[in-house]
Amino acid sequence: MVAGGPIIEARDVDFYYGAFHALKGVSLDVAAKETTALIGPSGCGKSTFLKLLNRMNDFVPGARLSGEIKVAGRSIYGSDSDPVSIRRLVGMVFQRPNPFPKSIYDNICYGPRLIGARKKADLDVLVEKALKAAALWDDVKDKLTKSALDLSGGQQQRVCIARALALSPEILLMDEPTSALDPIATAKVEEWIKEADLSIVIVTHNMQQAARVSEHTAFFYLGELVEFGPTMEIFTRPRERRTENYITGRFG
C-alpha cells in the first residue's frame, strides 16, 4: 500500500434497509493512519455507513447493498470475502461501552484467543500492550482479574478500545465513542485517538470533537455524502450551504 494512500475506498455505495434507501451514491476514501470524522444530523446514515465497513450490517434482515467497498485494496463484499477476517482487520468501538461480563484480562484476550493465542506469557504481554495503548494500564494493572463491569463508564470504554486493539487491527471504527462518557473520560479517549497510530473512522455529534481529533471530515445529510475534505476546510470554509448550516448549528 502506498503510504498516505487510502486504506478504505467506497465507490457509489447505495444501501437499503428493505425498501428504505439509507445511503445514496456514497463515494469516500479514508486515508491510512489518519482520523476521519463522520458528522451529520441524526438519521442521516453515519452509523449505517460505519457498519458497512466491517460488515456489521450483515445481521440486518432485508439489508441490500450496491457499489463497492475496498479495505486495504480488497473488495470486502466480493463473493470470496469473509466477514470474520474482515472484522479482525477492522475493529469497532460502540456508542455504549459493552464489555463482556468477564474479567478485564479475559475481555482483552477474547479476540486473540479466537485466533488461537493460548500461551499465558504471550497473552500477558498482549494485555499489557493493549491496555497501555488504550491509556488504561495504570488504572487497572492491579485488578486485571476483576470483572470489567465494575469499572467506571470511561474505563469500560477504554477496555473496549483495548479489546479491539488486542487484535492489532489496521482500522478502528468508533461510533460516538464518548457520548456516554463524562468530560474527563471523553478527554482521555480523545487524547488516545490523537496519539493512535492507526486509521480511525469516528462518528460524532460533537463538532468540537470532530475538529479536535480528525484530519478529514465527511458531512452526511439524508443518506448523501454532501461534502468531504480536510477538517480545517470543512469547518472554516465549507463549500456547501447545507454543511455550513449544520456546523453553525442552524439545523440538525
Binding site: 466491517n54 445481521f59 472484522r87 460502540f94 459493552n98 461480563p101 463491569l149 479491539a164 487484535l167
Partner: protein
C-alpha cells in the same frame, strides 16, 4: 437555620392498611411453610420408636406389611435419585439445545410458533404423559428390546424428561434472550463466528439463568408422583440396569398412604419418606439459588 426534617411523607391510613395486609400475607406464607415442615418432621420422628435412623436410610428392605415390618428406604431413595438423574441426562441437553436454537438459530417465523408450542407442552397434565408411557413407551421397549417389562428406569426417565424439557427450554431461552445485543455485537465485531459468540459470550453471560432453569426442571422431576407411579414399575429394589423397575419415594407415598392406619409405624415411615423428599427438594432449590448468585457476575 431551621431543623432538619424527614423527607419521607407520613403514611396515610390507606397506605398503612396496605402495608399491614402485605405483611400479614408474608407472615401467613412463611408461617404455613414452617408449620408444614414442623408437622412433617414431627410425624417422621415417630418412626424412630420402631426403626433407628441408620436402618431407615441405609437398609434396602422395604416390607411395610410384614410381621415384623421392615422400613429400609434406601431402594426408594435410590429409585428417586436414579430416575431424576436419568431424566436430567436426557432433558438437560435437549432442553438447553432447544433454548439455544430458539434464542439464536431459529428465524423469527419459526420462533413465533415453536416457543408457544413448547410453553403449551409444559401445561400437559402429568397423567397424560404417564398414560403415554404406559400405553406407548412401555410396549415399545418391551417389544424392541425384548424385556420382561417396559415399566422401568428408562421409561420413567424418558417421560420425566418430556415434562422437564419445556420448562428448561422456556426458562433457558428467557435467560439467553436477556443477554444484551450490545455484548453479542462486540463479539461479532472481534471476528467471532456465531458459534463462538454463543459458546463464549451468550452461554457464560446467561449461566445463572441456565443453571436455574436446569435445576428447577429437575426439581420438578424429583417431586413428580403420577408419572413414576404409572411407569417406573413399582419394584422396591436397587436397580442394576436402566431396564430394571424401581419404586421412587413419591410413588411409594401415593400408593401406600391410603392403606395405612394413622399413627401406625407404617404411617410414620411414610412421613419419614416425605421428610427425605422435602430435604432433597430444599437442597435443589438452595443449589438453584446458589448457582444463580454465583454466576451473576463474570
Amino acid at each position: 437555620m431551621s431543623e432538619a426534617r424527614l423527607l419521607a411523607p407520613k403514611l396515610s391510613p390507606t397506605e398503612k392498611g396496605f402495608r399491614l395486609f402485605f405483611l400479614a400475607a408474608a407472615i401467613v406464607a412463611l408461617g404455613q411453610m414452617f408449620l408444614i415442615a414442623l408437622f412433617l418432621l414431627n410425624e417422621a420422628a415417630g418412626l424412630l420408636a420402631t426403626a433407628p435412623l441408620g436402618d431407615f436410610l441405609f437398609s434396602k428392605d422395604w416390607y411395610p406389611t410384614y410381621e415384623p415390618p421392615e422400613f429400609g428406604a434406601l431402594a426408594l431413595i435410590v429409585g428417586s435419585v436414579v430416575v431424576t438423574i436419568g431424566s436430567s441426562l436426557i432433558a438437560t441437553p435437549v432442553g438447553l439445545g432447544l433454548a439455544i436454537y430458539l434464542a439464536f438459530l431459529a428465524g423469527r417465523r419459526k420462533r413465533e410458533w415453536i416457543k408457544p408450542a413448547v410453553e403449551l407442552m409444559a401445561g400437559v397434565p402429568s397423567v397424560v404423559l404417564g398414560f403415554i408411557g404406559l400405553a406407548v413407551v412401555a410396549p415399545f421397549l418391551q417389544d424392541v428390546l425384548d424385556l420382561p417389562t417396559g415399566l422401568n428406569v428408562l421409561n420413567a426417565s424418558f417421560i420425566l424428561a418430556l415434562m422437564a424439557i419445556p420448562s428448561i427450554a422456556s426458562l433457558g431461552e428467557d435467560a439467553l434472550a436477556a443477554v444484551p445485543r450490545d455484548v453479542l455485537d462486540a463479539s461479532y465485531a472481534l471476528g467471532a463466528t456465531r458459534w463462538e459468540t454463543i459458546w463464549k459470550v451468550a452461554i457464560p453471560a446467561a449461566m445463572s439463568g441456565l443453571s436455574t432453569a436446569v435445576i428447577l426442571g429437575l426439581g420438578r422431576a424429583l417431586g413428580e408422583t403420577l408419572v413414576v407411579l404409572m411407569v417406573a414399575g413399582g419394584a422396591a429394589q436397587i436397580p442394576t440396569s436402566i431396564f430394571d423397575s424401581v419404586r421412587p419415594m413419591t410413588a411409594t407415598l401415593a400408593a401406600e398412604m391410603g392403606e395405612t392406619a394413622i399413627g401406625s409405624a407404617h404411617y410414620h415411615a411414610l412421613f419419614a419418606l416425605g421428610a427425605v423428599l422435602f430435604v432433597l427438594t430444599l437442597a435443589f432449590n438452595l443449589l438453584a439459588y446458589w448457582l444463580g448468585v454465583r454466576w451473576r457476575r463474570g
